[in-house]
C-alpha cells in the first residue's frame, strides 16, 4: 500500500480507536466495582479466583470463586462489552462460600472477583485469561 497522506490519517484514526477501547471498557468495570462497594476501599486478602490461564474457547470458560467470610461475591470480565458476569449471594445454609460456573469472555482479558466480607470490608482478586476464540459473537 502506498503511504499517502489520506492513508496515514486513516491509519492514525484506527490506531486511536483501538487504543481507546480498553480504556473505556475498564472504566465500565471500575464503575461496576464502585457501584458494588459504594466507593469503599477494596483491599486484597481472603478471596480466591480460579480461572484457566489459557481458554481455547471463550464461549465457556470455567471459573471458581471462593472466600471463607464473604457474604457476596461479584465477578467481572473487564474486557467484555458489558463487564458484569454474575453476583453470588450466600444464604444462611451455604455450605461454603464458594461457587463455580462457566462464563463467556470476548477476548484475552482480566477476570476480577470482588467480595463483600462479613465485617463490611471488600477484597478483590483477579486473574488473566488468554482466549483463543472470542465468545461474544463479534
Amino acid at each position: 500500500m502506498e503511504l499517502t497522506r489520506r492513508n496515514a490519517i486513516a491509519m492514525g484514526a484506527g490506531a486511536l480507536l483501538i487504543a481507546g477501547l480498553p480504556i473505556r471498557v475498564s472504566a465500565a468495570a471500575e464503575d461496576a466495582i464502585a457501584a458494588f462497594t459504594g466507593g469503599a476501599e477494596v483491599g486484597a486478602g481472603d478471596i480466591s479466583l480460579t480461572a484457566p490461564e489459557i481458554a481455547e474457547n471463550g464461549n465457556t470458560v470455567p471459573i471458581e470463586v471462593s472466600s471463607d467470610t464473604a457474604v457476596e461475591i461479584m465477578v467481572l470480565a473487564t474486557g467484555n462489552p458489558t463487564p458484569g458476569v454474575a453476583t453470588f449471594k450466600f444464604g444462611k445454609l451455604a455450605g461454603s462460600r464458594a461457587a463455580s460456573t462457566r462464563i463467556r469472555l470476548a477476548g484475552t482479558q482480566d477476570v476480577v472477583a470482588v467480595a463483600k466480607l462479613e465485617d463490611g470490608s471488600f477484597v478483590q482478586a483477579s486473574s488473566t485469561v488468554k482466549v483463543t476464540i472470542g465468545g461474544c459473537g463479534g
Binding site: 464461549n59 458489558t82 449471594k89 444464604g91 455450605g95 461454603s96 460456573t101 462464563i103 463467556r104
Partner: protein, 109 residues
C-alpha cells in the same frame, strides 16, 4: 421465548445431619447475549436467565444474579448445609418472565 428449557440438578440422596453437600445444577438455555447479529446485521435481542436461587426448606442457600456473560446452558456448582431432612428448591428466572422450578428431596441417613 426460549424453547426446550430443561433444568437438571444433582443432589445426593442422603446426607448426615449438619453435613455440607455439593450441588450441581445445569439448565439448557441458549442465553442470547444481545451482542450477536443475525445474517442481515440486525442485533438479536437479549434473552437470558437473569437470576438463579437455591433454597432448602425455605432458607436461602445461594442467590445468583446473572448477566449476559454467563455461558449457554448455565451451570453452577456450590455447597449447601443440610441440618435436617427436607427439600431443595431450585428456581431460575428468565428475562421473558418465565420461571423454571425443580425440587429434590434429601434424607438424613
Amino acid at each position: 421465548m426460549a424453547s426446550g428449557v430443561k433444568p437438571r440438578v444433582k443432589v445426593p440422596k442422603k446426607a448426615a445431619a449438619g453435613e455440607s453437600v455439593t450441588l450441581k445444577t445445569l439448565i439448557s438455555h441458549k442465553m442470547e447475549s444481545g451482542q450477536r447479529k443475525d445474517s442481515d446485521g440486525n442485533a438479536i435481542p437479549r434473552s437470558i436467565i437473569n437470576r438463579f436461587t437455591c433454597e432448602f426448606n425455605g432458607e436461602s442457600v445461594i442467590d445468583v444474579t446473572m448477566e449476559p456473560a454467563i455461558s449457554t446452558n448455565p451451570y453452577f456448582e456450590f455447597e449447601a448445609m443440610v441440618p435436617e431432612a427436607g427439600e431443595f428448591k431450585f428456581t431460575w428466572y428468565d428475562d421473558d418472565g418465565s420461571v423454571y422450578e425443580e425440587t429434590k428431596a434429601i434424607a438424613i441417613g
